[in-house]
Amino acid sequence: MLKNLPLSAAIGLSFTAIYFLAAIFAPVIAPYGMADVVGDVWEPSSAEHLLGTDQIGRDLLTRMIYGGRTTIWIATLATILSFTTGSVLGFLAAVTGGWFDQVMSRFVDLMMAIPSLILALVILSSIEATVITLIILMGLLDATRVYRLARAVAVDISVMDYVEAAKLRGEKLGWIIFREILPNALSPLVAEMGLRFIFMVLFISTLSFLGIGVQPPLADWGGIVKENKEGINFGIGAALYPAIAIATLAISVNLVADWILNRTTSLKGGRG
């Protein structure tokens, strides 16, 4: 599987792995406690504090590691939620057609007519922003995009002769969706997933930056930018580290997605 791994995929895979491992093992590798004040305000980088300290003297590397944990955790779960609901409903709408398709598609059109950030602001002003509610909110808002893609792909596939052959055999909906359509729709969905994951990272960061996402003292990348943005006026780069982290994560995840895409597009089971 890892033989003939292209360079781009190797780079993407290793960076993604570093970010995810750091997220999983945050308590082990972080040098200090997440909320501990361990130094002066906005100390420059030193042997004790590799990235310096933040606006109240917490270790910035520790904050970044814990922040990454929150951001990646929320983005991953929200992506999974949006893909399962979006693609299952999309496939179902494509295969069954009729009123179900109409009702679902018009509802999704309606949801998409409202900018998702504004919708999220409105909803979050009325409910409490916990990690769970954020995941559900982001996942469901994003599922509308996935639904449209999945439905469009599946509509094309569901008119193929092999789907008709399965229907004539008497197959149930489950087989048709998961065994006939899903494997053939996987490539565009995987490509979309790489992009969607990054949009999720940006979305949660945006919400936190605006102060309605992840709540302190929990750290997340958007929150770190918000806390340290005043530092930029004094030439302190603390707010830029999350930006670099988001950019490198975005690129490396998409390199991996591209590579998976290449492998799954092969019609010889990826062994040719």
Binding site: D161, Y162, L168, N184, N262, R271, G272
Partner: protein, 546 residues
């Protein structure tokens, strides 16, 4: 030969770079050194199966390689100069001026947004051969020669306003308009109905004779090429197999491969008499598609006895595939009744019992899209075994291998994906999938029409053998009468949604004929010289495509 040949090809080698997924790109050879001459005013037929390199050679005579194809060696001389060495400017003068091209699908080649006349005269005007007025006069003259209706005004129409056969003739006019020395015909009649093909063929032949142009005629159908060409070159895998004049190739082929091509469709099948209790009886079926207001089937009735073959014949649009959809329950009829094995079939497929579904299987025209590209052969054939009979594990695998044996493929195919099979192998796997359900009836929808003649022959032989072994009945939907003659027990001829002739094979195929059956029968190209002229002189009815 006193005259200098118009087209002289020496040692032509053509290659391409392929990019298989997951592999390093590498070069393959498509044509391995081909030589031939073509004298002015003569027609050379290039014939071979798909992948033989015939279209590639045709395009090479315009110094063109399609989609990454490279002309890697040899010489192509047109009018005394080697065009492979010519400058781009010279080649531009050549294409559309000295050499023109007629493609297989006129519908895909015409610009739908422009009038026909503009497109037909474009090359002639741009090459500076004629002024606009003259070119249009010439086009009208060509339209008349090609037998198009209303030649003065047909140029004002748009491509979608004429029929497929007419558009193909317009394309021939387009190619002839700049007064070229050579026209390359690339399967010009393959996409047409058999009754339309004959008119286009006759028009092309006459136009070639009248204008004195030389032509390369590319096709996979030996019977067609025999009607138009002076010489024939048989190609296989990029090599020349045999070259000779038409008479010799048709009547005294030297090479084994050519002999196989000539004798293709020589399958004979003893007609069985219908039994008293039919397996399938369709009574007075009338059907229309959702959202339309006209019937595509009118009052269609037919019977099929167990273990026999009913051929449903007709042109495209005759309703024969719709009939298959009605029988399978995909299109519930508006009126009429289906009886299968003594019980009434419910009109819509979802309400049918598993037994009904199992006993009535279907094989599709395009094996490519009839199999899920992400499932292995083992899954494709094994699924019906699991679904209908609950077979699992070793038992399922054993039965799958037995089925693979029956379709003359080995055990090693079980883990392959459809993309790793040839066209004929794919169709065989589809047959095995249908057979796995142990059906009493298989509907075969144009199962051989996408295949090369020799491969199609193999499939037909297989189907006949399986019928004898498994006692399964076939409904064979086809437009190809040669196939019908080979395998049918009874025949239903359909025309515009009605059965115009129905009965045992021997009755349907013997006179007296109704006009439509006569037209259909006489339009099937026969492999003998002078067939085309004979048919045109004797037939009673104009084809619908006119």
């Amino acid at each position: 030969m006193s005259e200098q040949p118009l087209l002289k090809v020496r040692g032509l080698k053509i290659g391409a770079t392929v990019y298989p997924p997951g592999e390093k790109p590498h070069n393959i050879k498509i044509v391995h050194g081909v030589d031939f001459d073509l004298q002015p005013g003569k027609v050379l037929g290039l014939i071979g199966e798909s992948g033989a390199g015939k279209s590639t050679i045709g395009l090479a005579s315009m110094a063109y390689g399609r989609g990454g194809v490279e002309l890697t060696g040899g010489e192509v001389w047109v009018n005394g100069r080697d065009i492979l060495q010519a400058s781009l400017g010279d080649i531009r003068k050549l294409r559309g001026g000295e050499v023109t091209y007629v493609s297989q699908s006129a519908a895909a080649s015409f610009n739908p947004a422009k009038q026909i006349m503009e497109q037909v005269t474009e090359a002639a005007i741009r090459q500076g051969k004629f002024a606009k007025k003259e070119a249009e006069l010439r086009a009208v003259e060509l339209f008349r020669k090609l037998g198009l209706p209303d030649p003065e005004n047909i140029g004002k129409r748009y491509p979608h306003q004429v029929s497929g056969g007419q558009l193909q003739r317009c394309m021939t006019a387009l190619a002839l308009c700049p007064q070229p020395d050579l026209v390359v015909f690339d399967e010009p009649t393959t996409a047409l109905d058999v009754t339309t093909q004959i008119d286009v063929l006759a028009a092309i032949k006459e136009a070639i004779r009248d204008t004195g142009v030389a032509a390369l005629y590319i096709t996979h159908d030996l019977a067609v090429v025999a009607q138009v060409s002076d010489h024939i070159m048989v190609l296989r895998h990029g090599n020349m197999v045999e070259y000779g004049d038409t008479d010799q190739i048709i009547n005294a082929p030297k090479e084994e491969y050519t002999q196989a091509l000539v004798s293709v469709r020589s399958i004979t099948h003893e007609e069985k008499a219908p039994t008293d209790s039919p397996l399938l009886r369709a009574e007075n079926i009338t059907a229309r598609y959702k959202g339309t207001n006209f019937d595509v089937l009118h009052d269609v009735s037919m019977d099929l006895s167990p273990g026999q073959t009913l051929a449903v014949v007709g042109e495209s649009g005759s309703g024969k595939s719709t009939m298959a959809r009605v029988i399978t329950g995909l299109l519930p009829p508006r009126d009429g009744k289906l009886t299968f094995d003594g019980r009434t079939l419910t009109p819509d497929q979802p309400s049918r019992s598993i037994e009904d579904l199992r006993e009535l299987q279907m094989i599709y025209q395009m094996a490519d899209v009839a199999m899920n590209p992400r499932q292995t052969v083992g899954t494709i054939i094994g699924r019906p075994l699991e679904f209908y009979f609950g077979l699992k594990g070793a038992e399922k695998r054993q039965r799958t291998i037995a089925l693979l044996d029956e379709i003359e493929l080995g055990e090693e195919f079980i883990d392959r994906y459809p993309a790793e099979l040839s066209g004929g192998q794919k169709q065989r796997v589809c047959i095995a999938r249908a057979l796995a359900a142990k059906p009493k009836l298989i509907i075969c929808d144009e199962v051989t029409s996408a295949l090369d003649p020799l491969v199609a022959d193999g499939i037909l032989k297989l189907l006949l053998r399986l019928q004898a072994a498994e006692d399964v009945a076939y409904i064979f939907i086809t437009h190809d009468l040669a196939t019908v003659k080979a395998i049918a027990d009874s025949i239903a001829v359909m025309y515009q949604g009605r059965v115009v002739r129905y009965g045992p094979k021997s009755e349907v195929l013997s006179p007296p004929f109704d006009d439509y059956t006569d037209l259909l029968l006489s339009s099937v190209p026969e492999m003998r010289l002078g067939w085309l002229e004979h048919v045109l002189a004797t037939r009673k009815m104009e084809s619908a495509g006119n």
